[in-house]
């Protein structure tokens, strides 16, 4: 009912009858990035509906100067778990967590530096996107060297990043190594859009890859990247989605585009937060240390959806399975940008 939401939603010290777990997710950005913010949002809301926690998601926006006061304010509220992700809020948490020992904190896509001390109430989640990107890179390499319908003779593929930053470069590193693992001679063109919200530019950049001989491209650039998918449709080439299964996103709305999306590299931020909250309730969650989620933990992976099965030749699929096995077995060590 309204009244209760109020109590839960505002941070004030109102007494609330029942005592469900109160979780707040603070985004140092806004929703709609088709990336970890959307995913995180989805995971926390799911925890709300399935685990009976009372949850709230706040979009802090991109003005860095307001994050600290905002999170400070949340600490004054009656939240049990405060979640704030990405490296940009790390230092804020490192400062606030020790001051609020009674609260629990999650951070994702980065880890607080525990050696600073007083951070036993913080749980950090890291994603091995480099591992999954390795698979994507390998698949890309198989495709560009193949005689698949839309592939060409050049051994060339593209990588479009939103900005030249570590998280993005972690994808890049894995992608490059994956490609080199199949054929060191492959040339991977890398470009950064310098913007997350310019699909038109993303499309131009990707078309430029194709124009320069690439026949498959991987974009990790939020909205801008979506333009890359259109480029693949227009140029009739292959592309990879990122973060969520982007084939599914377009399957009905734009089949022609969807089928160009061979697979998507999944980064299951939502799952991991859901998992964390669940473990917290079960009391099995270990605070005071980071946890790196790779393919093994289902933190990352690639979408083996209908389109993947349809478009990718069987022997390639086997090859990917094989590589995945080696990564799991630790036979392949993928380096990282961090």
């Amino acid at each position: 009912s309204k009244k209760e939401d109020t109590a839960a939603a505002d941070g004030s010290e109102k007494a609330v009858e029942a005592e469900p777990l109160k979780v707040v997710l603070y985004l140092n950005g806004t929703l709609g990035d088709k990336s970890f913010f959307d995913s995180a949002n989805e995971g926390v809301l799911r925890a709300g509906s399935e685990l009976g926690a009372r949850v709230k998601v706040i979009e802090g926006g991109y003005d860095a100067s307001r994050w600290e006061p905002d999170i400070t304010q949340l600490c004054e509220g009656d939240w049990d778990i405060i979640i704030a992700g990405t490296w940009q809020t790390q230092e804020i948490l490192e400062k606030l967590a020790p001051l609020n020992p009674d609260k629990r904190f999650f951070t994702y896509d980065t880890s607080v530096s525990y050696d600073k001390g007083g951070l036993d109430n913080v749980y950090s989640i890291l994603y091995l996107q480099n591992e999954a990107s390795f698979l994507v890179g390998a698949l890309g390499a198989l495709i560009t060297t193949s005689d698949m319908p839309l592939a060409n003779a050049d051994k060339s593929m593209g990588f479009l990043g939103g900005m030249d930053i570590d998280v993005i470069n972690d994808f890049k590193v894995g992608y490059l190594e994956g490609a080199a693992y199949i054929d060191p001679a492959i040339d991977v063109k890398v470009a950064y859009a310098g913007a997350w919200n310019d699909p038109a530019k993303g499309k131009e950049l990707t078309l430029a890859f194709f124009d320069q001989g690439a026949d498959v491209s991987f974009n990790v650039a939020g909205e801008t990247g979506l333009g890359g998918l259109d480029a693949a449709k227009e140029a009739g080439k292959y592309t990879f989605g990122v973060d969520s299964d982007q084939y599914a996103l377009f399957a009905e709305s734009d089949p022609e585009k969807a089928e160009k999306i061979v697979t998507s590299m999944l980064k299951n931020v939502g799952n991991s937060l859901y998992r964390g909250i669940k473990m917290h309730q079960e009391g099995t969650l270990v605070y005071g240390q980071p946890e790196a989620l790779g393919i093994a933990e289902g933190g990352v992976g690639i979408a083996k959806n209908e389109n993947y099965k349809k478009v990718v030749p069987a022997e390639f699929q086997e090859k990917i399975e094989e590589i995945e096995g080696k990564i799991l077995a630790g036979e392949i060590k993928v380096s990282s940008a961090f």
């Binding site: 109020t6 505002d10 941070g11 991109y62 100067s65 307001r66 006061p69 930053i165």
Partner: protein, 354 residues
């Protein structure tokens, strides 16, 4: 009474505009909020609710005042330079670079870093100034373009040369302790930069209205041919006005780094240049008024944050509300008829008196 109304008419007009804005806001919030009562409380009293929030207003106003004053100075010389944004960010970048690559006692370091930043900003906005003075290139356009150049160049500078490699993100190294402002009220982020901003405004007021150079600025702004006819060197004025703009905006950028973030961390254009234009125009390019228009805008922003943090009104709607209020405030002729009627009655009365 009516005399009084006339005297403070603008103030009254703005107040009434604000009230209307408030009413509109209330309506909107009622439309979309699950619990409008609280939401309204957050928006309007939120900023005053906690010490932290109260000081947030000041923190947030500081860069607005810097940029607003900077822009006002060039407006007064009829230079429509949007370069505050560019000077702000590139000065912050270069200042940071300087700060992290030097070490000396704070007493020396802080002023030196500020000066380096200021000079950087000045040099940067000198470019549109010269293009304007020498080739009559629209400073509006060149400064607008230079803002993008400044932004990307700053990123390049920081990312390629002064990047903090331990940081998982594109940010500069931390400033050494000797180069950051102390935060002198615990529990808040009040820092020296805020005082600096106010000082800048006061100085600008003195400069514009009480010095010969300020007089030259304003006459050039009113009518260039006249200024030239009267013997004023308008080329000098044009260039000097840009230099001042850049310097003040630059110091503003650096003091934001030294006071709030402790390092250069912008990944997108922070937009203080635009805020500066907003407060400068609302403050009618008058430095003192700009202090108030900045506080007003900051108040709205913080109110929006609290609302968006505690209430259930999405951030983007807060922008909508802000923009509506700004629109109303600047409606010069709003209530013009009313004023006219009063003026007339006054005049008639004076007639009768004669």
């Amino acid at each position: 009474m009516e005399k009084w109304i006339l005297k403070y008419f603008t103030l009254i007009r703005v107040m009434i505009a604000l009230i209307i804005g408030v009413i509109v806001t209330i309506l909107m919030i009622y439309l979309i909020s699950e619990y409008p009562g609280e939401s309204l409380k957050y928006f309007f009293t939120g900023p005053l609710a906690s010490k932290g929030r109260l000081f947030n207003i000041l923190e947030m106003a500081a860069p607005m005042i810097f940029c607003g004053v900077a822009i006002a100075i060039s407006f007064q010389a009829d230079q429509f330079n949007l370069g505050a944004e560019g000077s702000f960010i590139i000065a912050a970048a270069v200042g940071t670079a300087f700060a992290v690559s030097t070490n000396m006692p704070a007493l020396l370091h802080i002023p030196l870093v500020l000066i380096v930043a200021g000079v950087t900003g000045a040099v940067w906005s000198l470019i549109p100034g010269i293009l304007k003075a020498k080739w009559n290139a629209s400073e509006l356009v060149s400064s607008l373009m230079m803002n993008y150049v400044a932004f990307y160049f700053s990123l390049y500078l920081i990312n390629s040369h002064f990047r903090d490699l331990d940081a998982g993100f594109l940010v500069s190294l931390r400033l050494p302790e000797t180069a950051v402002f102390g935060q002198f009220i615990t529990g808040t982020r009040m820092h020296f930069g805020i005082i600096l901003a106010v000082v800048a405004a006061l100085w600008a007021y003195y400069f514009l209205y009480h010095t010969t150079s300020g007089y030259e600025f304003r006459q050039t702004g009113y009518n260039k041919s006249f200024a030239r006819f009267g013997g004023i060197n308008i080329i000098k004025v044009i260039i000097l006005s840009q230099v001042l703009l850049g310097f003040i905006a630059g110091v503003g950028g650096m003091s934001e780094v030294m006071g709030i973030h402790g390092r250069f961390l912008w990944q997108g254009q922070p937009g203080y240049g635009w805020d500066g234009i907003i407060v400068a125009i609302i403050g009618r390019s008058h430095p003192i008024l700009i202090i108030f228009s900045s506080l007003l805008l900051a108040y709205l922003r913080v109110g929006g944050q609290v609302l968006n943090l505690m209430g259930d009104v999405p951030a983007e709607l807060v922008n909508v509300i802000q923009s509506l209020i700004i629109l109303l405030i600047t409606a010069e002729a709003f209530l013009g008829q009313w004023k006219y009627r009063i003026t007339r009655r006054q005049a008639e009365r004076e007639e009768a008196a004669k």
